[in-house]
Symmetry: C2
Subunit: 134 residues, 2 copies
Amino acid sequence: MTATQELTKNQSLVFNALARADGPLSAYTILDQLRNDGFRAPLQVYRALDKLLDYGMIHRLESINAFVACAHPHSHSHGHGMIAFAICEKCGQVSEFSDDIITGRVREWTNSNGFKQSKTTIEIRGVCANCGTA
Amino acid sequence: MTATQELTKNQSLVFNALARADGPLSAYTILDQLRNDGFRAPLQVYRALDKLLDYGMIHRLESINAFVACAHPHSHSHGHGMIAFAICEKCGQVSEFSDDIITGRVREWTNSNGFKQSKTTIEIRGVCANCGTA
DNA sequence: TTCGATATGTGATGTTATTACATTTGTCAA
DNA sequence: TTGACAAATGTAATAACATCACATATCGAA
């Protein structure tokens, strides 16, 4: 699964809601936005989110219980390598980046400690350049 | 604030619950453990947790909504530097480490992007050495 | 001692996520 | 074509996590 058009109806609705948002959305915010499209229950959102996470099309921000569309869907640096998120606590904007050195250092620790990593979360909370100068 | 004996009654109870646990605890698990000590409401736990987080005596694990006592309370590497957590999804054990190179790379990104970081979360989910070989 | 800051007690409520079960839709082979 | 299985969907109820609002108590410093 790589392309948007292969998504099911609910998956497309949820993905599009995230894609058109300018920042992360909570599951219940997505639910509210999709009421007119027939959504009635949280599970309709959560099931779609689970699949979209599987497909790598969206990310979950653990520190704020919210979801964002992947900013670099065509980048090969994703899939390998860990992704870090800088989350502005003023405006909600999220910047996504990956860093091979960080990825390498984490892998060194896991290797030397026999830890099989499945998913790694790196989230930087703070104030972005725009909000900091304003 | 650095020493345990300066904590208030509720803060001590919550901290001791975390200190004697062999892994992370949720706020509601702590509440249940402290019913016999007079705890009745979630807020009693959350307020103590907030202070203990301020004091740097405990950590919050964002990816599992749980809390742990700091593993290296006397280390000067804490306070500066970011702390990473490796969380075993089998046994729940948490390993805590810090890495100056990771800290440096994150700071490089935030500096060159004008991002004022306040708190950074690094959490590695997976299976620890013990559980992986078993 | 009185004032302000901090801590505590308690009920209600808000927010996030899952369980359980019924039904529908899509796919594929016989 | 059909029957059978997998995947997706619909819905209600409930569980798990967190905060608000307001009252009361405790402690230290002026």
